[in-house]
Each structure stands twice: as C-alpha cells, then as structure tokens.
C-alpha cells in the first residue's frame, strides 16, 4: 500500500506480463464481475493489485467530492467519471512521468493517477488559471475540451521522443463519440505510418452526451478500426482494472521497444450524467443503464482483494482516511490560490507581446483601474 506514484517514478517499472494480442472480437477480462479470475497467469501481483485499488479509490473520492463541491458552489461544472475508474486508472498507471498524457475533460481520474497534483486539478475545475499552468516535472496537458484534437498531438509528442532516442511514449484518451472525428483517423494512420510510440485509449462509455454508441456508428467493435491502419487493436473490459492495466502495460512496452502504436478500446459505461449540470432523464431510461452498477470497478476489485486476503477491512478503512485527508489538504491548498487579475487575459499570448497586445494590455489596465 506504500508504492505511490512518485516512488514509481524512480523505481524501475515492474516487468510487463507477456501478453499475446487477442483476436479483435475477444474482450480481455481478467476478473469477472462475479469475482472469478479468468487467466491467473496474467494477473498482476497482489502489490500491484492493491496499488491499483488505492488509485481507483483516490480517483473515485475526487469524483464524489467534486459533486458535493459543485452543489455548494465551490467548484465549477464538472464531467464526472464515477464508474469509469478502471478504464482511466488502469491505463494511466502504466505510464511514468517521462511519458506524455493527453487527457480529455472526462479524464480527471487518469490525470490524477498519472500524477497531476490534486490542488491544481481542483483549480482547473474551478476555471482558475492555476489549473492550467502545468507542472514542469510532468508531461501532462490541460484537459482537452474540443473533441479529438489531442490524438494528433500525441502522435507528434511520441514521434519527438522517438527522434530523440528515448523510450518514452505518449498516451491519449478519446471517447466513443470522439472516435467519429476525422482527427481520430488521421492520428491513428500517422502513428502507424510513422511508427510513433503511442498508446491510444478509446473509452467506449456508451454515450456521447445524449447519443448512444449504436447511433454514433454501425460498428460494434471499435478496436477493429486498428486493422485499417495496420496496427494492433485490443478490446478490454473497461471496468476490470487488472485487465486494463495489463493490456496497457503491454501496449506501452511494445511502444517502448519501437514496435509502434496500439489502439485500446475500454468497454465501460457512463452511469453518471454528461456533466454535473446535465439531466440524462431527457435521453435515457433506467433500462439503458441497467446492469452497470453491478459492474462497478471499485467494488469488483475490493471484493476480490478482501476475499483473497490481500486487503483487510482495517486496511481499507485506513485507505479511506488517507485519501480523505489528502483531498482535504489539497482543497485547502487550492482555496489559498490567489485570484487572477484581468492582465492574465492578454498575457501569455506570445513570448514577447506584439505592439498591438501591448497597447491592448494598457487599455485593459486603464479600464480596470477606472
């Protein structure tokens, strides 16, 4: 329970379990919702299991607190990811801080897992500039708002790493909806053609706001799109963090070895509304969401760990306490960020402001003063 993100940064990453690329129709699942292990040989060791569990708990706690903070006016509109933790945590946990992370607005859980500090994450969702000034020691970008544009960026960052001879990779997230955009196609094809060390995570959570995946595309298996680019595609149970982690580790290692990109479709579900301000009853019924609560990724692993004796109730309670304490401290830190000044509107456009911007800055300052 002590291996934290920052310790992993220096420690050599645990060796990836060798994993054959499954046939595209197969959905990789290591732990069933019923608690059965399908393939014991591929299961990560208990330490890794506990580490992933803790990261999921941590991610979920942020999601839950964000709701509460939103309702009390202490946080802005937030796109929840509760129920999708395995999809985000298992994938992002496969990276080190030398690797790139390109998250969308939905992927706060992935960013936290990668190592984005909580105070800054809160600041982002408070729309404070502090949330956008990314830490120097990380290679994570502010959450992407326009859909799909991050995919080509990941290709470029990955290619730059390859050109420099590092073994670093770039990982980008996208949704089922986002996979309809042209940028998705161009990025996958570029990555294949240029052999860029990329891992593309496609979180198929069943919905793009009000549009179900079946209306988004006639395809029933999005990982198959990989074939059209001559790259491997894997479909994985996105609510099984052991599976998402193992599959992603393998893709990351493949990319590190110079063997090119992988597309991973995590099959999960958006049980929550699109954002905390959305009312899903306009477009879906209880039937639509049926069955997904039972697949809760946190509960699944928790039950397994407890059953296996890898986790005790006392340890679990300790995790809860640690996570809560960490969040409250971070919240206090975020609360202490100073308010931005209007000058921030015109600053940071160019390294050296153009004469026009300098004049505009003066105008703005004069107005604010008056």
């Amino acid at each position: 329970m002590t291996r934290t993100r920052s310790s992993r940064k220096t420690a050599a990453p645990p060796a990836a379990d060798p994993m054959p690329t499954p046939s595209p129709d197969e959905m990789v699942q290591l732990l069933t919702p019923g608690g059965e292990v399908t393939d014991p040989a591929r299961l990560p060791d208990p330490e890794t299991q506990r580490w992933l569990y803790r990261l999921m708990r941590r991610a979920r706690h942020f999601d839950e607190r964000a709701w509460v903070l939103y309702r009390t006016g202490r946080m802005g509109v937030f796109p929840p990811y509760g129920g999708m933790e395995a999809s985000q945590v298992g994938t992002a946990a496969a990276l080190t801080h030398q690797d790139w992370l390109f998250p969308t607005y939905r992927d706060t859980g992935a960013a936290l897992t990668y190592g984005l500090p909580i105070p800054q994450t809160i600041a982002y969702w408070r729309t404070s500039p502090h949330g956008w000034a990314m830490p120097q020691n990380l290679k994570v970008l502010p959450f992407y708002i326009p859909i799909a544009t991050q995919y080509p960026h990941a290709v470029g960052a990955a290619l730059a790493e390859a050109r420099r001879g590092t073994r670093n990779v770039a990982m980008a997230y996208i949704g089922d909806g986002g996979s309809s955009e042209g940028d998705f196609h161009e990025a996958l094809n570029f990555a294949g053609a240029l052999n860029a060390p990329c891992v593309f995570i496609l979180q198929n959570n069943g919905w793009a706001i009000s549009v179900p995946t079946r209306a988004q595309t006639k395809a029933t298996n999005l990982s198959r799109r990989a074939e059209g680019y001559g790259i491997p595609g894997v479909r994985v149970d996105g609510n099984d963090v052991l599976a998402t982690y193992v599959v992603t580790r393998e893709a990351v290692e493949r990319a590190r070895r110079g063997e090119g990109p992988t597309l991973i479709e995590t099959v999960t579900y958006r049980i929550k509304p699109h954002t905390v301000a959305d009312d899903p009853s306009r477009y879906r019924t209880a039937e639509d969401t049926a069955g997904w609560d039972e697949k809760d990724p946190v509960v699944r692993l928790q039950a397994f760990l407890l059953a296996q004796g890898h986790l005790t109730e006392a340890e679990d309670a300790e995790i809860t306490r640690e996570i809560e304490a960490e969040f409250e401290a971070a919240l206090a830190e975020a609360d202490a960020y100073p308010e931005p000044t209007p000058a921030e509107i015109v600053d940071h456009v160019f390294a050296e402001p153009t004469p026009a911007l300098r004049r505009q800055r003066a105008e703005l300052m004069a107005e604010e003063a008056s």
């Binding site: 607005y105 306009r282 509107i345 015109v346 911007l357």
Partner: protein, 333 residues
Amino acid sequence: MTATVTALRTMTMVAAINDALALALERDPDVHIFGEDVGIMGGVFRATDGLQARFGTERVFDTPLAEAGIVGMGIGMGLAGLKPVAEIQFAGFLYPALDQVLSHLGRYRHRTRSRYHLPMVVRAPYGGGVHTPEQHADSPEAILAHTPGVKVVIPSTPRDAKGLLLAAIEDPDPVFFFEAIKLYRSVKEEVPEGHYTIPLGQARLVTEGDDVTVICYGGMVEVAQKAADAARAHGIGVEVIDLRTLVPLDTGTILASVQKTGRVIVVTEAPRTGGFHSEISATVAEEAIDFLRAPIVRVTGFDAPYPPFTSIEDSYRPNPVRVAKAIRKVMAY
C-alpha cells in the same frame, strides 16, 4: 418584414428560434434538421426541443460527432435539393468543418455556374458572457464573412431571430446563423405568431441620435444600447445600429447615419485584429471619409483567446462602460 399572422406571444430568443424551426419543418418537407444532440435531447440549449417528437427521426436527427461530416453531408443534401438546417453545438466547434465551408459551401453555385446551389443553414451559438468552458465562447463570424458565397446573420432579439431564421432557411444560398448564447434566455419580447420573414441585408436602427453612431450586432447590441442610454442622460445622442446581417451588409444604413453623426464606434466581442468591426471601419473610411469628425473607434475583444477563467472573463468582453468611454472619446475629439 413580411408577415402572415400578427398575434403576439412573449418569448425568449431560444423559444423564437424553436418556433421558427418548427414552422420551417411544417411548411416545407425539404427542410431537415440535424446535428449533435438535436434529436431527443433537443440540443444543449433546447433550440430543437420537441421537434423530433413532432416531425420524426427522418426530419430531425442526431449525427455522429463530427462537424466536417455534418456540414459535408449537408452540402450533399443541398446538392440533391433538400434544405438542410445543421446545428453546430458551439461556434468554436465549427472549426473542424471550415474545410467544407471554405472549399465547398460557398463555392458550389460558382463552380457549377448555378446548375447547383446550396440552400443550407448552419446554426451555431456563439459568444461569451455566460461562463462556458474553453472554446465555447468564440466569435468566428469574421472568418465566415470573408468567405465568398456564404451569408452571415446574427440576430439580437427574439423577434428578429425568428424572422431572420425563416428568411435564412428560405434563402437559396448558404447562410450562417450565429446565436448569442448570452441572449438565449436573458431577453423576452413579443414575437408574432405564425410565419414572417425579415429580409437579409437590412440593418435595424435600435435608437436614433445625432452625435455618435455605434455599429454592432448580436450580443453587443444590448451593451451598446446601455451605453447609449447612459450617454443620452448626458445629452449625447447616440444612434445604435444593429447590423443583423454581416453579409449582405447594409452599407446604406451605415453611411446615412455616419453622414448625420460624423462619429463612429464599432463594437464586437471578437479579437481586435481582423474582426468584422475592421471591415465596417474600412467601409466607412472608403465611403464617408469627409463626414468623419473623429477617429473610428473599435471596442472589441482582445488579441488573445477568450479566457476560460471565469472570474476574469468579463473583462474580455466589451461592456457598457467601455463603449461609454469610446463615446466620450469621439465626442471630446
């Protein structure tokens, strides 16, 4: 304004738009409405609320999430004689579709010598003032106005929105219809029931005045109006012109006012360099130079992205104080 019915109903701008869309669907079987979340959801701002239930999933339908696909498919529908009315969820998400717009939407009549034409409307919410996320507050109208072959309409009141939207849908050529998010629900007005159109290319005189002409459109009209009211209190007569359509541009109304006042202020919330405000300035500087008694002052956004930082975003967007300052400046010149 050509109208067939005159009973009035008080409504918001978004309700007026919904009303116009319903009327268009009712009157013309060729009208089809599509976009992201326009179906059962009724659009993120509810502009298409209830339309799918009423007109069916063939006339009002959700598309996959891809703006180039939306506009490109609309072009194909237009070639085949339908009247596509596409919604782009926010104007800032029009960018992926700009290739289809610049390469084709504005060129089809020209490239087929009028064998084909595209009676398409692209609607999109635009502009700031309501604390939306990054890129949800852009004002890209200048790009469209610089694109040959497309018209650009931006209403500022519920009544105008309905009449202009019906005119846009009935227009044989492509029309961009930008709707100020800020105005969707903040203003109510009496709107005629039934069908009427407001012709594209006619500006509206919002207030009359002899001293200063303030030219604006969309979300900036209420800002200009407030500044004009304040100036009137100080004995300054401000004429506020709401352009309503950027293309075609009502140069006549602009020049007539300039000839009277000799002082011009242009107001938009787009970035300063190259905004449509500059086109208006250039027109005045080319056509009415002798009447000018003061510099043509631009009150605009900044040459920076619209800030996603809620607590300071209001300093980006022109407000009545900034317009009032410009009024004082040209009066004092």
